[in-house]
């Protein structure tokens, strides 16, 4: 992933932005990169508990946990995106997302802030080769010299390569 992305403004492929991307975002850190996801998708933030492993699943699916009686799968985005140091301690953060009623937890390096972003702060994504398909990136924003990658977490989590659903809905 690169920082020159901010320079390129328009790209036909990344124009998945049919609606305005403005809104409030929860920002989190993966390795050296800063990401943002729509705050309304976040149910809660909690520490990392022991998970129950599930047989024959990709390594980034850590397993399932008991979240107040619900069985919730935990995905380690650090493993999925090959970012950050994968270790689990008392500082490991899990963001519990509620995606149209489906509850999923994601492991990240840390949660930083909640930011309100305007449309004019958000730039389109150029086409890149990354481990995350750029169609799941809503846009890029620059906040205090730092690039923020805004992901469409719902689309990402229901995508085929996350293997979280029986079959990808979209």
């Amino acid at each position: 992933m690169s920082t020159d992305a901010a320079t390129s403004t328009n790209n036909s492929k990344a124009s998945a932005r049919t609606k305005s991307a403005a809104g409030e975002y929860l920002t989190f850190v993966l390795g050296t990169e800063e990401y943002g996801l729509e705050i309304l998708k976040v149910q809660e933030i909690r520490g990392y508990d022991a998970v129950t492993q599930i047989a024959n699943t990709p390594d980034f699916i850590k397993g399932v946990v008991n979240l107040r009686g619900k069985i919730v799968p935990i995905v380690d985005l650090r493993i999925k995106f090959h970012l950050g140091k994968v270790e689990y301690d008392e500082f490991t953060v899990v963001i519990i997302l509620n995606l149209s009623g489906r509850v999923v937890g994601i492991v990240v390096d840390g949660v930083s802030d909640v930011m309100a972003l305007q449309d004019d702060q958000i730039r389109d994504v150029p086409s890149l080769v990354t481990s995350i398909d750029t169609k799941y990136i809503v846009g890029l924003a620059t906040v205090e010299q730092q690039m923020l990658i805004l992901v469409d977490i719902e689309q990402l989590m229901s995508s085929d390569d996350m293997a979280l659903l029986d079959s990808a809905i979209h």
């Binding site: 492993q53 399932v64 107040r68 293997a163």
Partner: protein, 772 residues
């Protein structure tokens, strides 16, 4: 009128379905020789309510049928027509058609228009036949002093409780269009006799004579307008005090203001009133005005009512043309409490009471709650129980003397939590009656079709079972009942020859036994023929021997494609079904057992867990994880000796148990999970049986036996091969529940299909070869 009606559709569908079921239940229970008026009325009301609802929502097909149905029912109800078996059949088929149409609207299923037309024709012809033939009888009866059979009146309650009066309501409508007012009048006309008048200020006033309560009126009106804008005044119970009402109503009676007024006088001065009344052409009214007086006027009122109803033009029509029904009724209710001075006082409470009774019926003391809310509640309580257990565990580490008050409080918390859990679990429980109630009809139809006589008995209909199970037990049970009627119970001649009563007895029972519920289908028919079964099994190529136990032999009927029926009927005999029954019941964690004695009958007994949500499980460990195996699928567990472990071509390990070679499925290799124990002799083999196949599952250790609450993995995740669900253990951790049937299949794919991908049956692409 910009209300979006579609939001009410569901309510109507639910309600209509319930009404249809209720009507069917009543029809089946009705005594043909002396039908209970109360029941006839209930059936009529059901048809009527459906008609009203269907018309409101524009389901004209349903309205048409119910209309014809209602006409016929009305005649029977009024004793103009004797109820015959033919009628009941017609009503039942009408009910079926209505159900079909309802489903047509609700689920967009096909509606067989021919059937609809047939039923309509049958109902119409029945209705007309009765109208011509029987009506004169009714008319002849009308003036007769014996009132009971004459009561052909809209409110049948009158028969049983003569004091029940019709209520007369004056309903002042807010400003609405004439069209709406007319619609409303039509709707209200369904309840009774409605006359609408346009007042000078452009508003409408509807005078309604009905046995319905004010609530009914409001609910009908609320389809068209805001009930708050309605002004409903009750006129019937106080005619003596408020004669203005009647005077007012006179405006509505096109033909005779004077007469109505005179009638209000009638109401006031009872006997004189009757004299006046008879001026209208009923001279014999006065006779019997003593004790039986209430009946008399009622008969009159009834006739009037009838006229208003337009259903039966009769001799009385002319006589009572001008008479206004409510006046009669007022007179009637007053004369009931004949002592003149206390007339209003007595009449009023009597009417109030009668109002209450139907109201209590209409509003059952239950509420509708979405199942997901209940499930959420159950979840939360489950969590509470776990939290509570954790607190208890912490407490147990404290000094009992120093912390006695705390320990006591926690003890109380424990009890309360358990009670709470029990009550919450019981919300999902429903009585078996829900299932049983659909069988009398089925048995009746089947028996008629097959020319058999069957007496149907249910026992323990109040036994409660989890809703989820209730829904899933219906199909298997239907199949078993059909089988019993078709194959079990013999034809009447045959039964006679065997020295049994002509009518076979089919018993459906439900009872709690230990932690499970046992549902039994028992018939006193021919019983299962062991020899025939064995012979059939042999010819089907099944492995059988003469020295099999009866239980084993009887289990043969669950083999796919197995039927001993000589004739394939459209009821049963094709040999499909029993295997499905068994499979369905197994899927619910249940067990089927057959007891039978040749010549004496058969009992098929189904034992089910109380709830789908709880499973008796054996927890086993593998590496650091815990898995739960459903206990009912475990045959035995053993620690094998080295010499019992055999291999084929150095791979495919098997265990030799009591003369059988069973494939060993190593869970750690199937699930690619690390464990230190890779030699079966160091671990434990759990012998599993599912779908008739046995395998030995190799795990590290047995942990313990416990009941676990089943949670779906698929709610938030997806299906995992070899795992049927998850549960939360006492410490709050998640344990996966193994899907035994799938494991055995997976194991076979790994063990035997050399070269074939081990999970060819599973589409998931992230499962790579896990062959040991």
């Amino acid at each position: 009128m910009t209300i979006d009606m579609s939001q009410f559709y569901e309510v109507f569908f639910d309600e209509a379905e319930e009404l249809l079921a209720e009507a069917e239940r009543l029809l089946l229970g009705i005594n043909l020789d002396s039908p209970d008026d109360e029941e006839l009325n209930a059936i009529f009301r059901a048809a009527h309510s459906i008609k009203g609802g269907a018309a409101t929502f524009g389901f004209m097909d349903m309205t048409e049928i119910t209309h014809v149905l209602e006409n016929l029912l009305d005649k029977i109800r009024k004793h103009e027509m004797a109820l015959t078996a033919e009628h009941v059949d017609a009503f039942l088929s009408a009910k079926d058609v209505l159900k079909m149409e309802l489903d047509g609207h609700r689920l967009a299923t096909d509606v067989d228009q021919d059937q609809v037309a047939d039923v309509k024709v049958v109902l119409k012809s029945l209705s007309e036949a009765g109208g011509v033939v029987i009506k004169p009888v009714a008319v002849a009866q009308a003036p007769a002093p014996v009132a009971a059979p004459v009561v052909e009146e809209k409110k049948p309650e009158v028969v049983t409780a003569p004091a029940d009066g019709l209520n007369r309501f004056n309903i002042a409508l807010p400003e609405i269009s004439e069209k709406d007012a007319n619609n409303l009048q039509e709707e209200l006309g369904l309840l009774g006799d409605a006359v609408s008048t346009k007042q000078a200020n452009g508003r409408f006033v509807i005078a309604l004579t009905t046995d319905s309560t004010q609530d009914d009126i409001i609910s009908i009106c609320s389809f068209v307008l805001d009930p708050d804008d309605l002004v409903i005044t009750l006129a019937s119970d106080t005619p003596t005090i408020v004669p203005e009402h009647i005077v007012e109503s006179a405006l509505e009676v096109e033909s005779g203001t004077e007469k109505t007024e005179s009638k209000s006088k009638v109401a006031i001065e009872e006997e004189v009133g009757y004299g006046l009344f008879s001026v209208d052409g009923k001279d014999d009214v006065e006779e019997g005005y003593g004790f039986f007086a209430p009946f008399k006027p009622h008969a009159d009122a009834a006739v009037v009512q009838l006229v208003g109803d337009d259903t039966v033009p009769s001799a009385e029509v002319i006589a009572s043309e001008n008479a206004h029904a409510e006046v009669h009724v007022a007179a009637a209710s007053m004369s009931t409490s004949a002592k003149a001075d206390s007339v209003e006082k007595k009449a009023t409470p009597a009417r109030r009471e009668s109002d209450k009774a139907p109201a209590a019926n209409a509003e059952t003391s239950s509420i509708r709650v979405g199942i997901e809310k209940v499930d959420q509640l159950i979840n939360l309580v489950g969590e509470l129980v776990i939290t509570q257990a954790m607190i208890e565990q912490r407490i147990s580490m404290l000094d009992p003397v120093e912390h006695e008050p705390l320990i006591n409080s926690v003890g109380q918390l424990t009890r309360n939590t358990r009670d709470l859990q029990e009550s919450v679990m019981s919300i999902r429980m429903m009585p078996m009656d829900f299932v049983f109630s659909r069988f009398p009809r089925m048995v009746r139809d089947l028996a008629a079709k097959l020319g058999k006589k069957v007496e149907f008995v249910t026992v323990g209909a109040a036994t409660e079972l989890d809703k989820g199970l209730i829904e899933r037990i219906v199909d298997p049970l239907t199949h078993l009942v059909r089988n019993s009627v078709d194959h079990g119970i013999e034809l009447p001649e045959k039964r006679k020859a065997a020295g049994k009563g002509e009518a076979g007895v089919l018993t459906l029972s439900a009872a709690h036994k230990g932690g499970s519920i046992v549902i039994e289908v028992t018939d006193d028919g021919a019983g299962l023929n062991r020899e025939k079964l064995l012979a059939k099994a042999q010819s089907n190529g099944l492995a059988v021997s003469e020295n099999m136990t009866d239980t084993e032999v009887f289990q043969l009927i669950f083999a796919p494609g197995f039927s001993t029926a000589e004739v394939v009927t459209d009821v049963s005999g094709r040999g499909v079904g029993m295997d499905v029954v068994k499979r369905n019941i197994s899927a619910m964690g249940g067990v089927v057992e057959i007891r039978s004695a040749l010549g004496y009958g058969t009992t098929i007994s189904i034992a089910l867990p109380l709830t789908l949500a709880i499973l008796d499980g054996m927890s086993v460990s593998l590496g650091k994880s815990i898995y739960v195996i459903p206990l009912n699928l475990i045959v035995e567990t053993l620690q094998p000796r080295a010499e019992d472990i055999k291999t084929v071509t150095g791979e495919g390990r098997m265990v030799h148990v009591r003369g059988e070679y069973l494939p060993i499925i190593a869970l750690h290799s199937l699930f690619n999970q690390h464990t230190d124990i890779t030699d079966p002799t160091e671990g434990v083999l759990v012998l599993l049986e599912a779908d008739g196949k046995k395998s030995a599952l190799f795990v590290d250790r047995l942990v313990g036996q416990q009941q676990v609450v089943i949670k779906s993995l698929e709610t938030n995740y997806r299906k995992v091969p070899g795992v049927s669900g998850a549960t939360i253990m006492g410490d709050g951790c998640v344990a996966l529940i193994l899907d035994v049937a799938a494991l055995i299949q997976m194991g076979q794919a790994t063990n035997y299909l050399t070269g074939a991908p081990p999970f060819s049956n599973y589409t998931s692409n992230n499962i790579k070869s896990s062959n040991a």
